[in-house]
Symmetry: C2
Subunit: 313 residues, 2 copies
């Protein structure tokens, strides 16, 4: 089934210990769409400027991504510049040029209205909410956010959280959002804000999913979490977009399945780990341009092998 | 089969967000022995001062630990004072009083000489080596170390590493020892120093085991690593000794099995996670005083459940 993703389609200028790249294609919705496209149909809502050429659109089209909802505006595309010279686990932002993104008002093309799954990538919660309201009947809503919105746009963010089935954020964001250092307690607090489940990404240490079951009591109750491993990698060339590709693999797999069962959710976390691990092997989404579904299945099996303990009867 | 552990038997003064405790029983060999005692026979080699009373020895004896090798010397026992007020993941050392430990020369009692497994807990590598030389015929040698020995006692530490089947250290120590930030590359470098396998502990994110297979080529070759989860915990009361209890659970389980197979190694990592998680639930080893083997098996199953993905044919 199809996923509608709204978020940034951008250019990134990147500096990592492996080199420098000027204006490679990036943005949360772009990374997400590229990763999710290996699993299901993906439709993008976003805005780009005049520097976004047909060849850039072609990157998405080659992966079968529907770009009807990418609005072309006067001016320049969103541009982010970051450095990982101090640490591969945290980007130092050198420049954030919103450009056409500054006055973005998401419009959903008519052909997108039958989308089954909605992903609200990391953008202004006001925009996330606008999109959510235009898509009231989707089967599942998942989303992402970041420290900036948590710190300074709390009220709007809380309206988004109330709409989410799944929130995907990293450790620092979860702790910040909850105001609580203990991860399990933080997860509970975050889920009390709305999300039925919370996926916390631990970078090279994998991810933990927390589940909130309100079905019986009306009071939030946490069922057992689930921990998925990350792939130990020889080289991390560029961490940009790893979290978005994780989300794309995770949500793409879910959307490709007839039903969301606990087993599907668990496998989806492994596929998230697979796509996140491939994403960081090259600058931007370069590695995904040559990736095959076989590569994905192979790494999925490897992730299983390196974490599998035989269950006894 | 029996484990001989050499290391510190000490008193700890602890400050955590959950309170302060003066002079609780601690030390790497003490924590290790308490945890390993749930799985197999444990014999301790260490030194204590006149402040180590029969009641303190009784803590070990109640768990069936053989204390014949604990030497009683004139003066005070090793004392460490630390605070976790800034962070639960890293202790701030407030005082290290070596006392009788400063002139420790490990002597192996005759009744210990038939020990099958040797664990060199975190002490001066010179002492680790002295013990290793007195126990040339053990089936397996495992050990621990810390930043202080890595930085300032490198030459001696390298002699110990050359003797090890398994080295258990944390992320920071692995990266420091290898002078390499990438964990997989760091693991390779560390194993080239001697250890046939390396267990890197990630605190609340679990642990990764790396294996070096020299059996065919004589050249080091890394087989697939294994990632074990940690238990998400509501409360971390006192992290002191978590790594030693992890090692105790890990090595204790291995020593309890007839043969060291890949499956045994994997399960041992889970048991390490179980014992580490119980250790931090109270100050010192308090939680272990009332722990049962049933509690251990229950948490082991929980750890399996929260990380298990069905393998398909």
């Amino acid at each position: 089934m199809s996923i509608l993703v709204v978020g940034s389609v951008a250019f990134d200028t990147l500096e990592t210990p492996h080199g420098k790249r000027e204006r490679v294609q990036g943005g949360a919705a772009f990374h997400f769409a590229m990763a999710a496209s290996f699993f299901t149909d993906v439709r993008v809502v976003g805005v780009v400027g005049e520097d976004f050429l047909p060849e850039h659109e072609e990157t998405l089209k080659k992966r079968g991504v529907d770009t009807t909802g990418i609005e072309h505006a006067e001016g320049k595309s969103f541009h982010w510049a970051g450095s990982y010279m101090k640490s591969l686990s945290e980007a130092e932002t050198l420049a954030t040029d919103l450009n056409v993104f500054g006055s973005f008002a998401p419009k959903i093309p008519a052909s997108y209205l039958d989308s089954d799954y909605l992903f609200l990538a990391n953008i202004d919660p006001v925009l996330q909410l606008q999109v959510r309201k235009q898509m009231p009947d989707v089967k599942l809503v998942a989303g992402d956010t970041m420290n900036y919105w948590i710190a300074d746009h709390r009220a709007n963010l809380e309206k988004v959280l109330a709409e989410l089935d799944v929130l995907l954020i990293n450790d620092g964001e979860a702790r910040m959002l909850a105001g609580e250092n203990n991860l399990l307690k933080a997860a509970r607090k975050v889920m009390e804000m709305g999300p039925k489940s919370l996926v916390v990404k631990h970078g090279e240490y994998g991810a933990t999913a927390f589940f909130c079951d309100r079905s019986f009591t009306g009071v939030s109750h946490i069922t057992l979490p689930f921990r998925a491993p990350a792939m130990p990698l020889d080289e991390v060339v560029d961490p940009t977009g790893a979290g978005d590709c994780f989300a794309g693999g995770f949500y793409g797999y879910i959307a490709s399945q007839p039903e969301l069962t606990p087993a599907v959710f668990r496998k989806a976390l492994f596929y998230g780990g697979v796509m996140g691990s491939y994403a960081v092997e090259s600058f931007g989404t370069e590695r995904l341009h040559t990736l095959t579904r076989d590569d994905i299945e192979q790494r999925f099996r490897t992730l299983q092998e390196i974490s599998h303990l035989e269950l006894e009867a």
